[in-house]
Subunit: 134 residues, 4 copies
């Protein structure tokens, strides 16, 4: 059973647009911030992975916008790793304000070495699935 | 046959990340910039639409990352309107650097009035499909 | 004696550039995020001020870059209100990573009403100077 | 007599905030976009400079906000190099919408080599002052 990680983001004024809502591209950054915390929590901080020569570039990203978020909202990003298959990592996201669903989405990543070659996911990544913090 | 519109964007330093590539969220902004130009070209500048009380918030967005883009690249966003159905507008995008495909994606929009109610697309929007600049 | 407020920001990947450093414009956003927390702490959340018709647009901003910050750094923004004079509010900032100074800067704001007219700072703002949370 | 360079930027929706104005940090990015064009115009594209191992990190930045800019405005950034002294480059900016002044500001840069050591400005940079495109 995949664990779900939570990370809270306070919406800055910078991210609102003239409709008074969070501009749609920023949610991809909220996904990234939640991803970084998730990797830290399972003992694989992204900086350490990059130092070891493992990168996880995004190959696909998707967002569905359910309700607008506003300045100063405390948004909770719920992240879980759906699967790790071959060189690919699939992450699912739900962004909520209290119980209200704001955005759902996913990102797909490949494991790449320093030279840009696709590689097998390092075994430590399985902690994302099993949810056993190292 | 839907017309395809082109809009060129020069990648600023601000949009690169520490891998040396354009950060993945910025492509959604490139889609938006191309959308604005497309609407202007068919005689429906977005500012005028908003003044008339018609808004086109994004309800879904999708990106596939084929090749990384870099600082100072001149990226061409090719946009076309796949369909207008009920209250929805579907736009497809291809971002290229010369002949090389960098990113593909789409956005779905709904037509909304000032009070946040979904409304029928205004007839002028059909210019996007027919490609007849007004 | 003006109180100093502290707010911690974790640098997202999105904010790095191809030198591997935080891009220079983002520090202005870190200033804003710290400002919002400071106003909340003294009992004047910015959303409430805007609802009362008081806005604090920036009229001047300044940054000096001492050391680069990097992805995943935990930056602490130290903010204090230097003075409130006539319609103006002066805020000073220091951004540190542990004991190391990364950026210093300031912002000047004017108090404006909904119609864009300059107004006297509301008395509650003096809490910024006296440091007495309401 | 220093030449003034001009570069036009169309304000994207992404850059507006809930007041309906361009968020204050984005002007630093407009300065950067104008800088990149200026360097290209004098025959020193920034990518080539970096490939030669010359970098121009910003050590100081300043903005004064005169009038708000809005979505879809065509802003013209007027840039000129005030001086090159020792390792430092001083650039001044004025951003206008037609004849109206929106923002003024400056950036100071140092010349650095790949190892982060300050170096003398490369002679080619004097083209910025003399305004003789190479």
């Amino acid at each position: 059973m995949p664990r779900t990680f939570q990370h809270t983001i306070r919406v800055p004024y910078a991210h609102t647009d003239q409709m008074g809502f969070v501009y749609y591209a920023h949610y991809l950054m909220y996904f990234e911030m939640a991803r970084a915390e998730l990797l830290r929590e399972v003992g694989l901080p992204y900086t350490e992975m990059e130092q070891k020569g493992v990168m996880l570039p995004v190959v696909e990203a998707h967002c569905e916008y359910k309700q607008p978020a506003r300045f100063d909202d405390a948004l909770v990003v719920h992240t879980h790793c759906r699967e790790i298959r071959k060189a690919r990592l699939h992450l699912d996201y739900e962004i909520k304000r209290d119980e209200e669903l704001i955005v759902t989405g996913y990102t797909h990543h490949v494991c790449m070495d320093r030279n840009g070659n696709v590689m097998r996911p390092i075994p430590e990544l399985s902690a994302l699935i099993e949810g056993d913090p190292l």
